[in-house]
Symmetry: C2
DNA sequence: GCAGGCCATAGATAATAATCTATTTAAGAC
DNA sequence: GTCTTAAATAGATTATTATCTATGGCCTGC
């Protein structure tokens, strides 16, 4: 039996012939002419190499080999029919796999979003890759994930980014810090303080640096620490001041205060980023759509960025 | 997903691509060029309507839909592979269905033959249709069975018949009949006896009638009975004489004797009959072959006809 | 920065398949 | 017997497939 030139069309016609018990009848129901179907059956018989049908008592009957083949054909068509259903689900984004690259800072918000999405689309499987900005940028350029969450999206033509969640950066101090007592503080008054900072390249650091240089300020005493949590704990212990995402602060129970410095908190956002040069899977699109329409269900509305609507737009 | 123009060839190529993880590699192993395979994959993707493969890290990887499709394809190919094995068995006649039309007289021999054949080819399924000669002749002309067993094969060009088993017709009488005492009896001396006969058209009757008319003899006192068993019992009870197949006599324990009449037993045979205008299934051919070569295993050699070898011949 | 893989695309061709209409054959039904 | 219905065959046409060679683009490793 040489399967090469066997097409599914032929099998469909064959099934119809068996089911109607007649070549002419099958032809009618398939909107074909009788000779067409007759010929197809001939070809199928040649492909299999044994007669599948025989005239019995004026009617078409299956041979022994024929009924085995019929069973095989039913099984095969049924299998692809099942696949067709699965495919349909995948098309509607009800099913599939989404890979997400997320910068460390966002790790406090993302679970709530995914939790909500899971309720919505339980069959969508999500792989979450968390790393610092440099790592996620690398994943982005290698096209390793479908969607990314950055505080500071990479640049380039094939980047599509939309701010979805506000990420205010607070200037924090240990409880009882002298500046916390004051109604207003000018940043220059803090020049003598030690600042605990994330590594250069991290979005928080970039935002702070930008803010400083816009004002011609420079810090004298800084220490670099690569973890928001460690920074938070260190500030609480009185090791210095820091600028941190408000989301990071929500997590801990340490005794911290915000300093009433002009211009703080620095407003920034998390951006949902995807690549224009890569088609999103339906499942990923379903996630985007979920964020666009239902984000307020799992995130407090106050945190949701203004221009979220743009997500569904063309760009 | 439109299956119509999907061919198994395409699926084979696809499997090879997935398995080798590379289009070029698959092309080499299938003795095709790389663009051919590339194009086939493109067509397959169009057929399914979703990408199945994607470049991941310089290698081909399956998408989520792709791996579902791969599974479906494996299942489908596996199913037809199984069918291929079944088909191969059928080709070797190891499996299949044989329909057999048998005249009543032969019902004593046929079980032994089929018993032997069952040992030989346990997966061949046999349907046995037993009837009187008229009934089996009708089945023959309607092509209802694959093979037939007749004492007197029908005539016609498309009849292929071979004598396989001897069927001597004995002239029998009840034990103690006067003629049984004699060393030799001339048939004319029995003219006054009553003869119990099968219906006209039965092979036993035909053979006897032929023998009688060849000698210009006629019977005065006959009675027609349509069953060999009833005739046998009736003869034993003294209701008359009869001509019966020796096989029929073997069965009963009644007190019967053969009369030493010149020319008896009448020699006749059972014929294995098939139609030239109908292709025999491999299973049926296996049965024919079995009869040609192994009949002596289940039937006493003395009963086997001389020209059995002809069975396997061309005609 | 260039050679060597690998994939994709273009353009061409021969083979095959899918269909049709018209005709022939076979079998069954009054 | 003729009428009907179903199947097979012939002959023709168009669409699709299965291939090829040649070429362009993209990474990777040296």
């Amino acid at each position: 039996m040489d399967l090469r030139h066997l097409s599914f069309r032929l099998l469909q016609v064959y099934l119809q012939v068996v089911r109607t018990g007649s070549i002419s009848e099958a032809a009618r129901s398939l909107h074909l002419t009788q000779p067409t179907v007759s010929l197809q059956m001939k070809k199928l018989t040649e492909t299999v190499g044994e007669p599948l049908l025989e005239m019995q008592d004026g009617k078409l009957a299956m041979t022994a080999v024929g009924s085995e083949f019929y069973r095989a054909t039913c099984d095969v068509m049924g299998r692809f029919e099942d696949f067709g259903h699965t495919l349909e689900e995948a098309r509607q984004g009800q099913w599939g796999h989404v890979k997400l690259g997320v910068v460390t800072t966002a790790k406090y918000v993302i679970p709530r979003i995914l939790g909500g999405f899971y309720q919505h689309r339980p069959k969508v499987d999500i792989t979450l890759n968390i790393g610092n900005r440099a790592r996620i940028l690398e994943r982005f350029s290698n096209q390793e994930d479908d969607l990314y969450l950055f505080s500071h999206p990479p640049s380039g033509q094939h980047v599509r980014a939309t701010a979805i969640i506000r990420n205010p950066l607070q200037l924090i101090a240990p409880k009882g810090h002298w500046a916390a007592e004051r109604e207003a503080v000018d940043f220059s008054e803090l020049k003598g303080e030690r600042f605990l900072m994330r590594e250069p390249g991290s979005a928080t650091r970039m935002a702070f640096d930008t803010w400083l240089s816009a004002r011609g300020l420079e810090l004298n005493n800084t220490q670099q620490i690569e973890s928001n949590e460690v920074i938070r704990l260190s500030v609480a212990s009185g090791l210095g001041l820091a600028v941190l995402s408000a989301h990071t602060l929500d997590e801990g129970r340490e005794k911290l205060v915000q300093l009433p410095v002009q211009g703080f908190p620095l407003e920034s956002n998390w951006y949902l980023v995807s690549r224009r040069d890569r088609r999103l899977s339906q499942a990923a699109q379903a996630l985007v759509e979920y964020m666009a329409t239902d984000l307020t269900r799992c995130i407090e509305p106050a945190w949701v960025s203004e221009d979220l609507r743009k997500l569904l737009g063309p760009g």
